[in-house]
Structure formats: structure tokens, C-alpha cells
Symmetry: C3
Subunit: 394 residues, 3 copies
């Protein structure tokens, strides 16, 4: 079948001025934080689990994750991409989905997303998902890479023969990474939380901590979860002045959500050594107001609410509204944080365009914003800020 | 006078599709957390104080609690039930109210609530309010009971002759309670806050703590406020796999609101022993987003925003909206948490139906949700989830 | 040029009932927390920096603070006051602005604000901004003064020859201040945060702390940042039973935003000695729900969301909505917290009237509130609560 156009503004035509619809439809997005798509068929159980960001448990028998905002959004927006009526039942959706290969699913779902460039985090489950290049190919786009600091450190450590080698080896790995990546990412939120001492530890202390960590070896070695080492990684990366993405807020229950409140980053952000390094706060819900505040307070802080939009579906309008409070418009970016299910890559684009249409549309219709300004903000958040921060050439 | 029908959708007919109005009007609710109604006339001072959830102080002379969202909602929705025009003045309302006996007030206010079943917390001020049976009789409904763990423990302790008897006696009391109750409730939020050690203490430690607590006796004994004992109560109750309700968030100023943030329950929820015990987060405002997150993250976590809807009145639409973000729709329940004033039992039903109509109506009209899905979610939250979790037979 | 009328309801006429427009246009506000206007021309750099509440850094080259909600609001509402079309470009705006003297700017911007009385905080940068009297003169209004406790203490300390004099001298200064001021303000949020011991320290302890602080002298002395001393100041001021304003939430990055959560004031508010002293929580975003809760929970607590409205511009509607949840309507006040730029004094009035129109208008149109009640709430928040709490005579 041929890919379908997506009209992200269906049903809200009277709420969004035609010029805004036009601008939002035309804008070629930069998705500044995304992952690849599953390269193999997944089971329905995995599909449903992937619709649940927060729980690692199987979906219990008494319910289906299709009965959620994201599940409804999949049936609303992704079903027609497979040739089904909107709101087809979960069973109908699933029966149709399994008939297409992963490559075909990518083709059908990505055709209408109008993403120009993907900035891909390759640090998680990269064996089961498509590469940045493959994602780009499937969507007639380009891509670049984000290197995850904790993964890089774990690789480096596995190659060190003594703790004393770690610091130099990690710095060398950063230098190598900068040759092919446009930035870094830290999942300190998952590994240690933000309620830690953010001062750069001395090399001696780092080396000692690495020694403790490297006590186990090979598969016996635990994932990196020592705040001393993670703080070192971040400071070391910051010296390169390339953007560092921070997972903030919404994520799976491994993290203490309240300890990923971005306010806890204040002691880090206030350090002089960070001030020329773009700090990209990802996701941020339910702390997106706090993230917006930091984006106003610090010249080098940026944020997005990408992941949240997909998971709150129809409620994305309110989240977008709340993301447009105190942060200057030069400091917010678009992302989907889509992982695995190509429906998420599709929805990220649809829900952002639709929510921006409703929010900015209401302000334009009421005369709070001019149409020209609204269009300009769409471009800033849609791609200009990302182009500038990551140094993407068009 | 004859009870009046209540049209919960007056004034918003053009905003809510007729089929949704029909479904929301028809749905026979299960109110999964509620208290009885006052069995005797109360003074106007007590009436006003009951309109204030957070303050135990008398209403100061310079103001009236009628000048609040809840006060406006009482005049809007409850006044017509007494045969008065909507928005009658506080004095007119009061003069009319005192002319009806408590039983007559119940009859007039409960006639239109369309609640099929009340799950009643009998642990607070039960001497002055109606029993579950009386509440059911007055509303042509059925009822069941929730046993409050702290009250049960205080009763058990008063019958123990030595601390060493407490643990077994409390377990026996739990077993007895399960014969007539459908679940338990804890007010740990009030007594100790959630920022405590949630690991089950050893029996020896519990017994020692009970000894300290029982040092005072009879009326001299202080209310149970030892975290070691309260954590024991919760773990002991959890072993029965019956639902445990947790007071979360909004309540009177005795509690440290920020220490009732449900995120602080993470160390409890992560314990294996809890995973088959339904944990019901009650009220939750202003932490309802966090509660919804936990309902996604943990298979056994549920939540409601009941109490908040009454107290925010016309703002309940936004709270309902925010309660429909990341939580699967199988994980939210309806409640009113009405206490004493039968107006609250009435408003709980009206404001939920009205807010759900506005919120789901906007999504249906814009094509984000299908009508059929909206109706299904109404039934899930309105009664199906409660029926399933509490094992209510229809 | 002649001052222009401002129609705060342009573009939303169909959303706000005419009677509400009339009431909101007519209401003569009391701005209970404001500063003076710049008495000299400022550079464009300073202008942009003042559009940024949170960052003390220069606006970076890649952006302009005009690209923010506040920047858009300036171009929307303030440009016509200078005879420019709404949404004139930043450059056009600036070129026109520099042609008027500060006095002329005041005249043009303040003409339509319809503020009856300004309650002016004179404790910050008072050398560069207009006095309460000058602000009143420029706006055909009256004014009164708020004395900042930390500034007063710093002045007192500079005049003490030994630490032992401080307590009595500070009390004398408070007594003197009450002869010309209507209340006090504390910036404990900036200096020490709210996560401190709020019990009144003994005189001995205070004196010792003053000794440590006074170790430096003259310009070498650091600004007062000792929690023991600041807690003393607040308790000493509270004994006078005059209103004490607390900076809460949104402010520049010097403060730990999360440590200005008003919930952390609970240990102070629960003290008997405070209960007859009005506690005014200022700004409060993003903790305005918490502030509203405290205003319900404590007879003597009041709050506003003034500063936030200006900085979130078109999003002020949602903030106003959220400020009308659990707080009784006798407990919220209007303010602008405008500082320096007279545009902020103007916008404070415009955005509050407009947002209140949209929010209350929607409730009136839907029949949740009566028109009469809405008008009454406008007057309560607009001036009546302030008149009562500060003892302002009309």
C-alpha cells in the first residue's frame, strides 16, 4: 500500500487559523532526541509494554495498555497509516500490524512525519533497533548521533586493565566520540538521581571509585552507578562544550521521579565550568515548569517535553501550553524520544503539530500573539534552536 | 417536597456531545471512598468549617467559606435540591437548610446522585455520622466498609494487657475485619508522613515500639504516631491482598502536605511483598500527576482525585483533565470523599459527571477520542475498576 | 502624545460577558506588591535583562528576550501606548521608546492602568527607581510603603557599635517603620531558603550570630544570610501584627527555587505567635497551588500570583485559573511586582483583567458561577482584601 498523508489538524480546523495550519504542516522538524525502530517483529506483549514507559512488568490480565492516552492516540493516528479506520479496535490494529514487515511499517509510519533530521541516542538496546542511518533512510531524512556517557564509560572500563587508566581512556573516548557525534547524554537520573554532590571530584577520588566499581569484572561488573564517577563523566564531557542531554523526569520506575527534578541540578548549573556547555533537559514532565524556569535562568539551558506528549496523547495540548511559560522561545526544542515502535516516531510529529496548533492558534485568534510571531516560534522550536545548538548544517 | 432531578450538564450542552451526556447521566457510580452524613443538625459555624478541608480553626469574621469554589458549588447545585433558586445567598441557603431534618436533607440531596454503591471509611468521627447501611438506605444503594488501620490498631492496643500481645492481636483483628470489610485505609500521611523507612520492622522492634506507645494508657495514650508501628500495620494488612487506601495530598494542616507526596511511597511500592496488594492513592491533589505516574509504573497502584473535585468546584475540569495523562484508564476510580455534609455527596457526583463531560467531550468533538472509547472510560472510572478491585458483586 | 485607553478585552469580547468586561474595566486596583519605575533611561541590554526575571547574565547574542511571553506581551499591549501598532518589531519598539523621557513613559503607560493604590517595596535598588510618591503622582493614585526586613537589619547593623545592641536597635527600627509603612517584607527565600529551623532563637543566640556577621564591617560585611538572624527578624516583625510579605517561588537563580516552596513555611505558620500576623505569599509560581492550600489552611495566610502573570503573558489565563482552586476568595490579592520598566506596571493590570475575564467569564457562561459572584470576587481580589489586610483607607 501507499503511505497516507496525515492531517494533524483534522477536527480542529475551526480552532487553528489556516496560516498556522500551513506553517505547522510545512515545518521540517529536527527531532533532537530519538531512538531507532525495532528491526524485528515484536510480540503483542512487548508492544503493550512499550506503550508503558514507567513499568517493566508485563501488562496485567485485567487491562490493556491500549486503554491509555497513548493507546488511543495509536488507534487514532497510526491506524489510518496502516489503511485501517481511525479507532479500529486493538485486535484489528494488531492483526493488521503483524502483516507488515518492520521495514514496511517504517515506510508507512514515517512517510508523513516530515522530520528533516534525527538526533539519535544510540546508547540503549542498540542491538534490537535501527541505526541512525537506517532511520534516516526510512524517512528521507538525515541523522546524527548522541553518545551516552554511562555506556561509553562502561565500554572504556571494560577495556582498562587497571583503574588508573580510566580517566585518560575516558577522555580519549570522548575525543573520539566528538568526531562522529553531535553531543552527549547522561542518565544520571536513573543511575544516581540528582540529589548528589555535583562538584567535580579529584582525579584521585575518581580513580579510587573506578577501582571499587571495577572490582567486579566482565558480566559480573555492575552497571555504573557511582555518583563520583558519573559526576566526573559529566564534567569531562562539559569541557568539550558540546551539548549534553540530561534525562529529566518521566521515565521508568527504576528512577526516583522526584529525585530527577531538574531543580536539583542547580549546584551543577551554577558552576563556571558548565556555562558554555549547552545543557539539554529532556522530557521533564511533570517538572516541565521547573525546566522552563531553568531555561530562563541559565543562558546554556534548553529543554523539551517530547516524551510526555506521546504518552499523554490528547492531553498534550495542556503540556505544550505549560511549556510556553517563562522559557525564552530560543530555549525549547522538539523531540519525540520515540523508541522501538515506529508509531511513536509518527505520533511525536502529529501530536506536537496538533498541540502547537491549538495552543498558538488560541493565542493568535484572541490577539495575544501575532500570526507572524507564532510562525516564528514554530520554526524556532521545530528546528532552528536544534540547528544552532547542535551545529547542524542544512 | 419531592427530590429534584439534577442536570449536571446545564449550561454546557453545546460542549458535550449528546451521547456523552446520556452515558454520563446513566452511569451508576461506585464511590470508592466516602464517609457518612451528619445525623444531627450542625451549626452554621460547623457547616462553614466543614467547607474548609485544611483548617481546623473557626472561619474568621472577615470572611465566609461560602466565598470559595466549594461554597459557590453548594449554592449552584445543592440549593435547587432544597427548592431554592441556584445561587441563592448563603443566608437564604442556611435558612432553608435548617428547616429540613438530616434525614430529609439526605433524601433530597441523595435522590439524584445515581450512586449504586458506597465504599465507606468508618474510621473517623463515626459517632456523629451515618453508618454505611444508613447511607445506602437513604440513597437506594448498597454499601461496604473500609477499615482504618490506625483506628483498628488503637482499639487493639486498648485491649492488650502487654505489648507482646499486640502483633498477634492485630493480625487477628485484620482477619476479623476481612469478614465484613472490602479493604483497609491508612492515614500514615497524617500520623507520620511518607518520608520514613518503609521496610517492615522485625517483630521485636514492633513490640518494643508498641511498649513505648502503650506507656500511656486509656485516654492518656496518645494517638498512634510511631512510624515503626504504622509501617508494620501496612505490611501486615498487605499480606491479606485486599486493597489498602492511602490518604495522599490534600487534607487538613495537621499533615505536612509535601511529605504526603506519593513519590515518597516508592520504597514501599518497590517491595515484592506489596505487589499483589492493590494500593489505592486517595485525593492526591496537588500531586495527582505523580499519582497517575505511579498508577502507570506499578501494576497494583490505583488513584483518584475525588476530594479535590468538590473543593475546587468549577476548576474540577482542569483537575480531571490532568488526571487523564499517563495513568492507564484501568487504574483510576471515582470517589467523593464526602464527609458529614450531604451536599458533598451530591456535588461529588455532579462535578465528576460535569467535568468528565467537558473534558472527554472536547476530545470527542476534536476527534482525539472516539465516542465509544469515551463511554468505555466513563464506565471504567465510574464503577468497573472499583467493582474489580474491591470484588464488588452487582 | 495623549495617553491611549487600553482595551484589555480586545479579541475576547465573545468569551467574556459584557457585564464582566464592565466590572473588570471599572475596578480600581490595589497593587499590593510593586516597585518604582526607572528614573533614568536604560540601555537596551538592561531592558532585555529586566525582561528576564531569573538570569543575571546578559542576553546571549543568539537570542532576544523579546522572544518570550513577556516580550510578546510588551509588543502587544505596551506598543500601542507609545502610538505604535500592536506587535511592532523589537527594533521599532525600542526606537520609539528611547524618544520618550522616563517621566513621559510613565505618563503614557500608567494612564490606563486604573490602579488606585500602590503598596511599594522600597528595599531593592531604590536609588535607580522612583519613590512611592512619584509612582503615585504619575498614575493619579496613592501609595504606601513596605519595609524590607533584611535591608532594615543591614542598616541597623551598620549603625551598631557592638552586637549586643542589635536586638533592641532592630526593634526600635521596626517601631519607627510602622509609623510610615503598612507592612514588612522578607527575602528569606533568597538569603537562606525556607528549609531552615523556624523556631525563634534566644536573644543570646541571635546576638552571637550578629557578632559573627558583624565580624566584617562596612563594605566588607556580607549581606545578611544567617538563618538565625533572619528568623529572629521575622518573629520580631510578627509581634507587630502588621502584614509580612514573603517572597515565594519564581525569582532569579540566586535562590534555590525548590527551597522556596511555601510548604516549607509550615513549621513557622503553625506557631501560635504568628497566627494574628497576616502572612502574604508573593508570586508563588510554580507553587501557587501550594500557596492556595496554605491560604485555606491558615486564617492569616494570603497569596498572589502577580509576578508570574507578567512573565507568562498569554499563559496568564491558566495561572489565574489555577490560583482559583482551594483558597477562599478572601485570601488572594492582586499585584504586579513590576520593577523598573513601566511596561510591567501596565501589563500587570492588563493581563490580570484579561485573564480574570476569560476564566470567570467561562464559569459564568457555563453557569458554574453567577455574574454577581464573579463581580464580587473581582472586587475582593482586586482591592477589598488588600484594603482590609493593610488597613488602607479609601
Amino acid at each position: 500500500m501507499q503511505p497516507q498523508e496525515i492531517n494533524s489538524f483534522a477536527g480542529i480546523e475551526s480552532d487553528v487559523p489556516a496560516e498556522l495550519v500551513e506553517a505547522l504542516s510545512a515545518v521540517e522538524l529536527v527531532d533532537h532526541h530519538v531512538h531507532g525502530t525495532f528491526t524485528k517483529h515484536v510480540s503483542r506483549a512487548v508492544f503493550e509494554e512499550t506503550l508503558n514507559e514507567a513499568s517493566p512488568s508485563p501488562t496485567p490480565d485485567f487491562m490493556t495498555m491500549f486503554d491509555s492516552q497513548l493507546g488511543f492516540a495509536v488507534r487514532r493516528w497510526a491506524a489510518p497509516q496502516l489503511g485501517l479506520p481511525a479507532f479500529s479496535s486493538p485486535d484489528e490494529y494488531w492483526q493488521r500490524r503483524v502483516q507488515s514487515s518492520p521495514i514496511e511499517l517504517d515506510r508507512l509510519m514515517l512517510a508523513g512525519v516530515n522530520v528533516r533530521h534525527w538526533v539519535v541516542d544510540t546508547g540503549f538496546s542498540s542491538a534490537s533497533i535501527s541505526s541512525p542511518e537506517a532511520l534516516a533512510d526510512a524517512s528521507n531524512a538525515t541523522s546524527s548521533e548522541i553518545v551516552r556517557l554511562e555506556s561509553l564509560a562502561e565500554t572504556v572500563a571494560s577495556l582498562c586493565t587497571s583503574p588508573g587508566e580510566f580517566i585518560d581512556a575516558f577522555r580519549a573516548a570522548l575525543e573520539e566520540a566528538r568526531t562522529h557525534a553531535v553531543g552527549f547524554k547522561t542518565i544520571a537520573a536513573y543511575r544516581v538521581g540528582f540529589d548528589i554532590d555535583w562538584l567535580r571530584p579529584s582525579d584521585d577520588i575518581v580513580t579510587k571509585a573506578v577501582g571499587n566499581w571495577m572490582g567486579g569484572s566482565g558480566s559480573a561488573r555492575t552497571p555504573l552507578a557511582d555518583p563520583l564517577i558519573i559526576v566526573f563523566l559529566i564534567h569531562a564531557a562539559a569541557e568539550l562544550k558540546m551539548p549534553i542531554q540530561f534525562h529529566v523526569g518521566y521515565g521508568d520506575r527504576d528512577l526516583d521521579l522526584h529525585k530527577s527534578n531538574p531543580m536539583l541540578l542547580l549546584p551543577l548549573l551554577r558552576q563556571v565550568g558548565l556555562q558554555d556547555t549547552p545543557v539539554m533537559l529532556l522530557h521533564c514532565w511533570p517538572y516541565h515548569r521547573e525546566a522552563g524556569y531553568l531555561a530562563q535562568a541559565f543562558t546554556n539551558v534548553y529543554f523539551d517535553v517530547g516524551l510526555a506528549l506521546n504518552y499523554v496523547g490528547a492531553q498534550s495540548t495542556q503540556i505544550v501550553r505549560e511549556s510556553l511559560e517563562v522559557a525564552p522561545f530560543a530555549k525549547q526544542l522538539f523531540s519525540s524520544d520515540a523508541f522501538g515502535l515506529v508509531e511513536l516516531h509518527c505520533l511525536g510529529s502529529v501530536l506536537w503539530r496538533r498541540s502547537m496548533g491549538l495552543v498558538l492558534g488560541s493565542w493568535v485568534r484572541q490577539g495575544d500573539w501575532s500570526l507572524e510571531d507564532a510562525v516564528r516560534v514554530i520554526r524556532l522550536i521545530g528546528y532552528e534552536n536544534a540547528d544552532r545548538v547542535y551545529g547542524l548544517s542544512r
